[in-house]
């Protein structure tokens, strides 16, 4: 298909979106990313039965946490697509990039170059 999607989107591969823990998402924001989205399988088609549904609930939970800390819940989202939907993958990447661009850069300072967690030995 040779579809293109915005180069700012960095992909982290996981065996299932059910693997994505809320701490993984929070740590990404701690490091200064502007947005995170999960690309899971279609609902009802999870190879592990409920992985994408669990991910959906976790994303909702993280939205609340991001609102609490002032980053805004719109910086994180859950999308569903099947492995054959390359078109949708590119479209979602575009859509999320535009959304995050409108929200502006993450206000978390120090970002990726300053991993305070490491410097504090945590």
């Amino acid at each position: 298909m040779r579809l293109s999607y915005p180069s700012n989107v960095k992909i982290v591969k996981v065996p299932c979106t059910g693997r994505v823990d809320i701490l993984l998402i929070l740590h990404a924001f701690e490091k200064g990313v502007d947005g995170v989205y999960l690309a899971g399988c279609m609902e009802g088609e999870c190879h592990f039965l409920r992985g994408n549904l669990r991910a959906k609930q976790r994303v909702q939970y993280v939205k609340g946490l991001l609102e609490e800390v002032g980053l805004g819940g719109d910086r994180v989202e859950m999308f569903n697509m099947s492995a054959s939907q390359g078109q949708r993958f590119a479209q979602v990447a575009q859509e999320m990039t535009e959304r995050v661009r409108l929200l502006g850069p993450s206000p978390v300072r120090g970002g990726l170059k300053d991993d305070s967690r490491q410097s504090q030995g945590i």
């Binding site: 701490l23 701690e30 946490l65 609490e68 800390v69 300072r109 305070s116 504090q120 945590i122």
Partner: protein, 222 residues
Amino acid sequence: MIVGNRKEFKEIVGMLGSNRRVLLLGCNECVTVCGVGGEKEVGVLASELRIHWKTAGETFEVREHTLERQCDYEYIDQVRSFVGDYDVVLSMACGAGVQYVAEAYKTKLVMPAVNTTFLGVTLEQGVWSERCQGCGACILDMTGGVCPIARCAKSLMNGPCGGSSAGKCEVDREVDCGWQLIIDRLTELGQLDRYEDILPVKDWRSSREAGPRKRIREDLRL
């Protein structure tokens, strides 16, 4: 187990004030099981605090540490070597844990990140429900194993009241009427005749009414 709710982030930040060196202390017991103050929740709150302070451009230090229990001195003592490096201990244990940490480190600010709510059970993963109020004089043998103190909104010794409707409580239609549960259970046990027994006025001195309680077992003392 003891069940709690985490305080709102805004309240926690307000509580911390200008203190920026925080020892965030979790507990591996009840609050871990009810998903409010274990290692995982310590990680989440620490992450929230880091994001918050990084956003504000402030310098800070959050150390995550989870004790086996915060209600036993031996475990609390494990942080003695580094507790002095922090402005404040933010405890994610129940109220008992928070107080015992404060008692152990008398010159250290100790703050609660959790609102302790009730003694309860796990109904299903992620859902907990109150079962006991620790009144100090259990009458479950007389009420079919259902506690009227904890499960009746009015803690009636002889119920139900007129607010019971279709098995639900007038306080909240989602809440089961405790006395309806007792009647149902006694029926299942074939002991409905016990419902005719009038339970005497409860002596609340074994509860909180006689002040803070203490239990001593001499044979276990060292």
